[in-house]
Amino acid sequence: MKTFKALLLREHREHRGVYIAPLVFCALILLAAAVALFVPGRLQTSIMHDQDGVIQFHNDSGRHLFEVNDISLRSLATLFENLPQQTQGVAINGMLHGVAGTLLPIALVLAIALAAQSLFRERKDRSVLFWRSMPVSDTQTVLSKLVYIVVVFPLLFLECIAVTQISLLLLYSIAGLFFGLNPMTIWGPAEVLLCWWDLAHLALALQIFYLPVIAYAMMMSALSRRNPLLMILLTPALLLLGERLIWGGDTLLNLLLRYVQQGPQLVMGTGMQMTGDSMTIRYGAPLAEVMNGGMLIGLLVAGVFIAAAIQIRRHSESA
């Protein structure tokens, strides 16, 4: 266990730089929010106003909720304070989930990029000789990289999302204070802990769903001599081309597309639930979705790729 902990810590230290991307996105979101708050909303008005200059909000059953005809910050603050508590909750929690929804796909892309470099970089800089001079098996090394990518990295990424969400709430609170808005009007309906629980759940479900892709990227990373990313893309492309040229079919392509599309559906399909008057925002049960939907096949495929990655590293003489 001590060895595995040291290996995970090593992964974390090696990939400190990868957190720059989410931090930049988080900073951009905060900046955009600050600009939207403190620069009077001409742009918003032109985008959102209907022909009469009135913004109308309806729920999904078409019931009229409220309308806005003055988009100045003071009027928005007053309007927000006078909204029913449940509607305030929808607005605040919608904002929290919106931030997460923007950043989660980035986490997945970064996870695949990490996997693509995981077993290639050590050979490129020849540090594999140093790592392999330690009493650590190839299985331990590869599994530590996998656990870091699939579990530790998304959790740390969620930390970035959480910091952004809290910063946004603080920003809105400070802005509200200028116009006499009680900060509790913002913090009260914010279901922050529930949101984080849901997000952790969702992130884990997505990682499990895309585990075969991550495992495949790791295998290619172990195999590649020059450009793992190119190999990751080129191999299935050649397979698809081969299928079309030899058998004239697109079965593989359709399977692949269906698989790739199911991930976002996992988020959106069971995603925010704003039903009737209840107005709560909760995700469905993404883990259960993943468990039901061919998870065993996915895990088996991922297991084969990971076993191959271990064997390739073990028998590689590029060291």
Partner: protein
Amino acid sequence: MSVISCRDVTRKYGKFTALDRVNLDVRPGRIVGLVGPNGAGKTTLLKGILGLGRCEGALSVLGLDPHGDRNELMQRVCYIADVAVMPGWMKVCDAVDFVSGVHPRFDRDKAMGYLAKTEILPKSKIKTLSKGMKTQLHLALVMAIEADLLVLDEPTLGLDILYRKAFYTDLLNEYFDEQRTILITTHQVEEVEHILTDLVFIRKGRIVLDAEMDQIGKVYTELMTKSESLEEARALGPIHEQEVFGRTVMLFRDVPRERLAPLGEVRTPGVADLFVALMKGESA
């Protein structure tokens, strides 16, 4: 029991034979120099010994199968390849943390003690260190491990002479004792010959010399031949002959010094001279 035992160890890459029925025994408490030209099979043999590559034949290190028992083996064997292998993104203190986390025989305080004697700062990133400092760091990490066998593959490659001298001095003074064995491959044979107890030459995948340093002076003799004794010396069957400053220098094996002395100046050959002679000549 031998620390390293090779019996008919062979390694082929397609049609190319990198190791050809290598037989070698390394006893405990020895410092063995494995010397050979590029492509001779040194690194292939080291890979086999370290379990980084499979070989045919019987190969055992510390009584273990290097490939099958690699994890167990690496608890007792340390390895320094060359200065390029330390991960540049790591900080010095992170490297110490890492080895401390994964190696049960690592003494953290010892490592920090060695590092304190250098100019290396714990918070420095490895990529910012000079080549010499990287080697010092690697050596500090390795010396803090209670290992039975230390394998050094061109450890001082690219270092200036000060670091090279310091490396071997530290190795002898701080690390080596009668319980430990060191296997060194290097091209700079002159620098290590004074610390070696055994010398192994490898050429085209075959061992052409395997001798204790003490024996080399008894077996091999160099003769700077007088011009009038040239033919007489040649008749004694030198294994190598070369012209140096207009005089002929010959290398003999198993020819008594008393027989050679009347023919010119007799002396014990240096490792470099012996290496050149054996690499050009026939197998010993």
